[in-house]
């Protein structure tokens, strides 16, 4: 997916945006913003917070793009900003005892799991129920991970980022990112037990 042509065209976009081309900047935003928003939402479980993070991420990108020197990939740089902002948000929430499994929307509080689509589960009520239970359990475990473990897990599992890039984004070594992912998956495995 991320071929050489794609990378070079992204580099051209970045250079154009650095020269002040607002269309190039917009294109750059639209290339990455869906994934950024999804990650923020998956981590923060709040539309409002995800929206704030989205806004702040791209404003920071806009302000700091002239300083971007291609020393790492744009995606790594972008996710460094995303992860810092998400970690800040999660730290702020640490005072709360336990994160709820529901999230806020304009239409009120909604159970997150009702939006979880099931793999072929719609075809069989029994399987659907099992699948919902698995997802519920998985989400419970996710909410018990530390902020950093969760971030690494999100970046690897959902964003498909390599551990090396995750390490660069979080300013830690690849080994540290690997250990974080390892701990997260261990917790997941032990919590799920024979459930799946």
């Amino acid at each position: 997916m991320c071929g050489a042509n794609e990378r070079s065209s992204e580099a051209e976009l970045i250079r154009a945006a650095q020269r002040g081309d607002s269309d190039a900047f917009e294109q750059l935003v639209r290339t990455h913003d869906h994934a950024v928003l999804r990650m923020a939402f998956n981590l923060l479980h709040s539309e409002e917070d995800a929206r704030d993070v989205y806004q702040e991420v791209f404003l920071r990108v806009y302000r700091n793009l002239p300083k971007f020197r291609f020393e790492c990939s744009f995606k790594t740089w972008l996710y460094r900003i995303v992860s810092n902002l998400c970690l800040d948000q999660l730290r702020k929430r640490k005072v709360r005892k336990e994160e709820s499994s529901s999230f806020d929307t304009d239409g009120g509080e909604i159970d997150r799991f009702q939006f979880v689509p099931e793999q072929r589960a719609d075809v069989d009520p029994q399987r659907q129920m099992l699948s919902v239970e698995v997802n519920t359990r998985v989400q419970e475990v996710l909410s018990q991970l530390t902020a950093r473990e969760r971030l690494v897990f999100e970046m690897r599992h959902f964003q498909g980022m390599r551990l090396r890039a995750i390490g660069e984004s979080l300013s830690v070594t690849e080994e540290a990112a690997k250990n974080c992912l390892f701990r997260a998956t261990q917790k997941m495995r032990s919590a799920l037990g024979d459930f799946v």
Partner: protein
């Protein structure tokens, strides 16, 4: 590799983060160890359960975020211009040259004068380049708004001439009925080419409205719309867009190409909502369906290709039964 080591490395293996040698060892071990095989299967199950659990954020939320950002950027832009870009541009340009600052200014002034003079002479002889006039598939009157031109590259050419590569960015607006060719072609292009799923959903929605007009379905426009919807169902990476395209295909349900695509969606699409919509179109519960040999064949094929999907099998059987077509061969 021992069972314990396999257990420690399973997740990294599934993420493709193991080095070549340990990966080989793990695979060899798993092939021979039923316990680790089961453990690997379990791990795969929660990996995929979790993947499907991370649904996309709603396109509505994405649109709102984009609007917010768009509204914030002019302010940011002004601050930025004052703080960085504007004040720094001369330094950045001149830093690449070793000439003294005064000489550099003089050289740039001469250069700009030379370009202006060259452009004037060129346009005198050749007229304004077509690309700089309001061109393209739309009439001038249909395009409103400002156009901006940016010089991307300037090269000296033979005989005191200059070659300038110009990028033109033009805001345009086309307003009209979905049946207008300009509008329709833009919608088709947006569905096919836009990188933005929000735009693709909107354009498919508009195309779907067009398919309500039975008259339109019979002409070339109908074929174009059907083709683009078929392509969307098969290839669009966003489930919401695929789902929207399926809604539009309802009206083409009798078409063999559409049936093939519905079958494709049922067999290949990872999203449960998309599969559910596909079977609803192919085998509607109300049974208002004209059974043809082709359709019976498709349903029978599905019963064979999806032996574990009880729901799809039941729907196919129900339709085949109500139309007295054979279903028990599989």
């Amino acid at each position: 590799m021992t069972c314990h080591e396999v257990q420690l490395n399973t997740s990294l293996y599934l993420y493709g983060e193991l080095d070549f040698a340990p990966e080989e060892e793990l695979e060899r071990h798993v092939e021979e160890c039923a316990f680790c095989q089961r453990m690997l299967d379990r791990e795969k199950t929660w990996h995929s359960a979790l993947k499907s659990g991370s649904d996309d954020v709603s396109l509505d939320l994405l649109s709102r975020c984009r609007r917010d950002l768009h509204a914030s950027l002019p302010g940011a832009s002004r601050r930025l211009a004052a703080a960085s870009w504007g004040s720094d541009w001369w330094g950045r340009i001149s830093s690449g040259f070793s000439l003294p600052r005064g000489s550099m200014k003089l050289a740039m002034a001469s250069f700009i004068f030379f370009i202006g003079f060259g452009m004037a002479r060129w346009t005198d002889r050749n007229g304004v380049p077509e690309a700089l006039q309001s061109s393209g598939p739309f009439s001038a009157s249909s395009l409103l708004g400002p156009s901006t031109t940016r010089v991307r590259e300037i090269q000296p050419a033979a005989q005191d001439r200059v070659r300038i590569i110009v990028e033109q960015v033009r805001d345009g607006e086309v307003t009209g009925s979905v049946t207008d060719q300009d509008v329709l072609q833009l919608l088709l292009a947006a569905t096919r080419d836009s990188a933005d799923p929000g735009i693709r959903v909107d354009s498919v929605e508009m195309l779907n409205r067009q398919t309500l007009d039975q008259q339109a379905l019979s002409g070339q426009d109908g074929n174009d719309i059907r083709d683009v919807l078929l392509n969307t169902v098969r290839h669009d990476p966003n489930a919401a867009v695929r789902l929207k395209a399926l809604e539009g295909l309802r009206r083409f349900a009798g078409d063999s190409g559409v049936r093939e695509t519905l079958k494709f969606a049922l067999e290949k699409d990872e999203n449960a909502g998309v599969r559910s919509e596909a079977i609803d179109i192919l085998a509607p519960v109300d049974g208002k369906l004209q059974m043809t040999p082709d359709l019976a064949g498709t349903l029978q094929d599905l019963m064979r290709s999806l032996p574990d999907d009880d729901y799809v099998r039941a729907r196919c059987q129900q339709v085949l039964r109500t139309t007295n077509a054979a279903f028990d061969v599989y």
